[in-house]
């Protein structure tokens, strides 16, 4: 409790409390959560934040500052929200190596999901920001795949390609492939706009819009996606098709032509 009261003196503590209170109130309206449970949630939440802070101090503070205020090596994390942390750490982009190329790549996550949740809770406690979406928000139930396709082509395809295979940006930066990215992380990316990606907040791209986009992406770039015509050739369009036509199409035909025109083996070798 001593630690918690110390936290409460933090300038943003009021905001956190307000948020938690709002969430609790919302929960009351939504269901019939007894006050006692909310109390219990709060204390377990504070424990999570505490654990998160420990992890933060070891793994993040050197770049993002001890209080998340940021430094020359990393941006401020105040107000980025739990969603940003869940995305950045959950896709392995954070923690990043100190010297980066044009952009931080996706890699195997360093932390477990439980640790990520703790980190997210701690960073969320620094300032209000988007929270981690729920299955209900990004899950397939009730999604309109076709509408998602239209939205994807309007908002996403210009960088990520028709079916999310990725593409080039300026000066060595790139829009990564969306293959195998968890729906939750896609949702969070849209919400928070990691690195150079612009954000698509709920005010301009509704929750339903995001759900539709994720459902579309799952339909055209999922494990079970059908490519009726055969090999997808990377899904990159005419460049890979042209290479294939030259190497395997014309290549095979030239091999056949060599056979057709070659001399038949003679009875005796001279």
């Amino acid at each position: 409790m001593k630690k918690l009261s110390a936290r409460r003196r933090h300038p943003l503590a009021a905001v956190v409390v307000l948020l938690l209170a709002l969430a609790a109130t919302g929960g009351l309206y939504a269901a019939f959560a007894p006050a006692g449970k909310a109390q219990a949630d709060e204390s377990s939440q504070s424990l999570t934040i505490k654990e998160g802070k420990k992890l933060y101090e070891v793994g993040c503070a050197s770049c993002h500052g001890t209080g998340g205020q940021g430094s020359s090596d990393g941006p401020s994390l105040v107000g980025v929200g739990a969603a940003a942390v869940d995305f950045q750490v959950g896709t392995g982009r954070m923690p990043a190596a100190t010297s980066q190329g044009a952009q931080v790549p996706r890699k195997k996550p360093v932390y477990t999901q439980a640790q990520i949740d703790q980190l997210a809770a701690y960073v969320a406690s620094l300032g209000a920001g988007p929270s981690v979406p729920t299955e209900q928000q990004y899950g397939p139930a009730g999604a309109d795949v076709a509408k998602g396709g239209e939205l994807f082509r309007t908002n996403c395809a210009q960088c990520h390609n028709f079916t999310g295979k990725g593409g080039a940006l300026t000066k060595g930066k790139y829009a990564p492939s969306l293959e195998g990215v968890a729906p939750k992380h896609i949702y969070e990316a849209m919400q928070t706009g990691p690195q150079n990606m612009p954000s698509f907040p709920d005010t301009t791209m509704s929750e339903k819009n995001k759900k539709d986009i994720i459902a579309y992406l799952n339909a055209v770039n999922g494990d079970e996606t059908d490519n009726p015509g055969g090999m997808e050739l990377g899904g990159l369009g005419p460049v890979s098709e042209g290479l294939f036509a030259w190497i395997f199409g014309l290549g095979a035909l030239i091999a056949v032509a060599v056979w057709v025109a070659a001399r038949t083996a003679k009875a005796k070798k001279s």
């Binding site: 295979k165 050739l233 460049v239 098709e241 036509a245 057709v260 025109a261």
Partner: protein, 546 residues
């Protein structure tokens, strides 16, 4: 006249076989026997590279066959419809009838997807085949007299093939091809004075309008293929008429053609090759997906995807546009859009450069004789170097056209790739020219050494006084002949500056240029003199090992 009473009976019934009677009947009306007399046992030389043209012809036939099938289902209309077919991720979307009928072909017509894919793969292979065929003809000098016109026919087929391909690629009205059409509109707009008018006329008003699919359709299925079919027939007639070229070798001369007869060997080989080509393309269409328009979605001018490229044969033009700096000049209320217009002009110029080359070479050499023996590329170093330089420009364009994919797949900066391509556009052909010429001259020297000193056997022998030498085996007469059969021109010189009456003659600038070019082609250091009989005898009689 169709039956001759005194004809010897072939069968026991006293009648000629049915086939023969039909042929006689046809001959009486069409004169086919005179045609067959010249052509039935026509000789064709065997070489795999002589079959590249057949790859093109057969893929063209495949394209026509599959294309006709596709017209049975395709609706060339830009009327807006709501999609309710079997592809779920597009259901309820607004799209043109062209797009929805292409979806219908792909998902609801049995075998429709296969035919679409064969059509598209065959088109890519057709163009690739024409490119390689053209390069074969170029590098072996097969374009020389009497085949210059056929070279031009072939060139036209290549260019028309590009535009036929492009119009076909645009027909489904999908997001990828629509972006390509938008680019075409932008390129047309860049033309000084007439640009806006041509654009309005082509699209029936503002882009995209409601007309271009129907218009491209008639261009794609009627106008261009009609011209191409005519050109292809003319191309073939000329191949028959000129008789095929051949490589130098024993028994082969400018005056003959050595090979096997059309009936039966070439009938079987060439006829069989059609089925082989069709079979390979059908198998490719079975395993490799091409142009999945359902993944791209219907065209909307405010949507786009990264990696927006045309089919490969337009990639070179795409590259020119991508690496051109954005120059624009405004004057007197007008805009000269050089950033787009220069690539447009360059596109034509680069293609024209290869098309007119045969005429330039024949002007430089002044050679008016017929040529039926092919050059080995090394024996025409300047031509070969020019060809490689041209291919380099073309390839640099292709790389430029795919700069974004090169950037992502090789982890490079797109700006660096673009700059590399910009520099390569100028430096690439020059380096390619110099390097190729060096290589050709080196190979010529090696041929010369081979003729004079024989083949290196790899056997090392120790002489009595301890020296080690490699045994060189003299070449057979066949090999000697093949390696020395090529012709070597002497460089032209400026004629006497005074005529027979002692009056000074003015040397025209064109003559000076020609002499310069001729020296660059055939002067010292630009070709290795082939060994003479005297040199050969001197060395062989002395039994000296180098």
């Amino acid at each position: 006249m169709s039956t001759t009473p005194n004809e010897e009976p072939r069968s026991s019934r006293g009648k000629a076989p049915a086939g023969e009677r039909i042929a006689d009947w046809a001959d009486g009306r069409l004169g086919i026997y005179s045609l067959a007399k010249a052509n039935m046992r026509k000789i064709f030389p065997d070489h795999w590279s002589f079959m590249l043209g057949e790859v093109c012809m057969y893929s063209f036939i495949i394209i026509i066959l599959t294309g006709v099938y596709l017209t049975l289902f395709f609706h060339p209309s830009m009327n807006e419809v709501e999609y309710h077919g079997s592809y779920v991720p597009l259901q309820g979307q607004l799209m043109s009838e062209a797009f929805s009928s292409t979806l219908h072909i792909s998902f609801d017509v049995r075998g429709g997807l296969l035919i679409r894919q064969i059509h598209h793969w065959a088109a890519l292979i057709f163009l690739a085949g024409m490119f390689v065929h053209m390069m074969r003809v170029f590098f072996t000098g097969a374009f020389r007299k009497p085949r210059e016109i056929n070279w031009l026919f072939g060139f036209l087929l290549f260019v028309l093939g590009m535009f036929t391909g492009f119009t076909g690629y645009s027909l489904p009205d999908d997001l990828l091809s629509g972006t390509g059409v938008r680019f075409t509109e932008g390129a047309i707009l860049s033309m000084p004075i007439v640009g806006t008018y041509i654009s309005m006329f082509l699209f029936g008003g503002e882009f995209p309008g409601h007309d271009f699919v129907a218009r491209f359709y008639s261009i794609h299925i009627l106008l261009l293929p009609g011209i191409m079919l005519g050109l292809m027939v003319a191309h073939l007639i000329l191949v028959f008429y000129h008789k095929h070229t051949q490589f130098a070798g024993p028994g082969k001369s400018e005056k003959n053609v050595v090979g096997m007869p059309l009936l039966p060997v070439y009938m079987a080989k060439a006829g069989g090759f059609f089925f082989l080509v069709f079979g390979v393309i059908a198998a490719i269409a079975a395993v490799a997906q091409i142009n999945p328009i359902w993944a791209m979605g219907p065209y909307r001018p405010d949507q786009v995807s990264t990696g927006a490229q045309p089919d490969w044969y337009m990639g070179f033009a795409e590259g020119l546009v991508r690496y051109m700096p954005g120059w624009e000049i405004n004057f007197w209320g007008h805009t000269l859009v050089l950033g787009v217009f220069i690539p447009l002009v360059l596109f034509g110029l680069v293609l024209a450069a290869i098309a007119v080359y045969p005429f330039i070479e024949s002007w430089v050499t002044g050679d008016k004789r017929e040529h039926h023996i092919l050059d080995r590329p090394r024996n025409a170093p300047t031509r070969t170097a020019f060809g490689v330089a041209w291919v380099t420009v073309y390839m640099v364009g292709l790389v430029g056209g795919g700069n974004d994919l090169f950037a992502t797949h090789f982890h490079l900066s797109i700006n660096a790739v673009t700059w590399f391509v910009r520099i390569s556009f100028f430096a690439g052909p020059v380096i390619a020219f110099i390097v190729t010429k060096r290589i050709c001259l080196g190979l010529q020297r090696r041929d010369r050494d081979k003729v004079l000193h024989g083949r290196e056997t790899g056997i090392i022998k120790r002489l009595p006084h301890g020296e080690f030498i490699e045994v060189h085996e003299p070449l057979s007469q066949e090999q000697l002949h093949t390696l020395t059969a090529h012709e070597q021109y002497k460089p032209a010189e400026i004629g006497p500056t005074v005529d027979e009456n002692g009056v000074e003659r003015k040397v025209k600038a064109s003559e000076k240029l020609r002499v310069k070019l001729s020296t660059a082609y055939y002067g010292e250091d630009n070709q290795i003199p082939k060994p003479t009989v005297e040199e050969y005898k001197e060395i062989t009689s002395g039994h000296g090992h180098h």
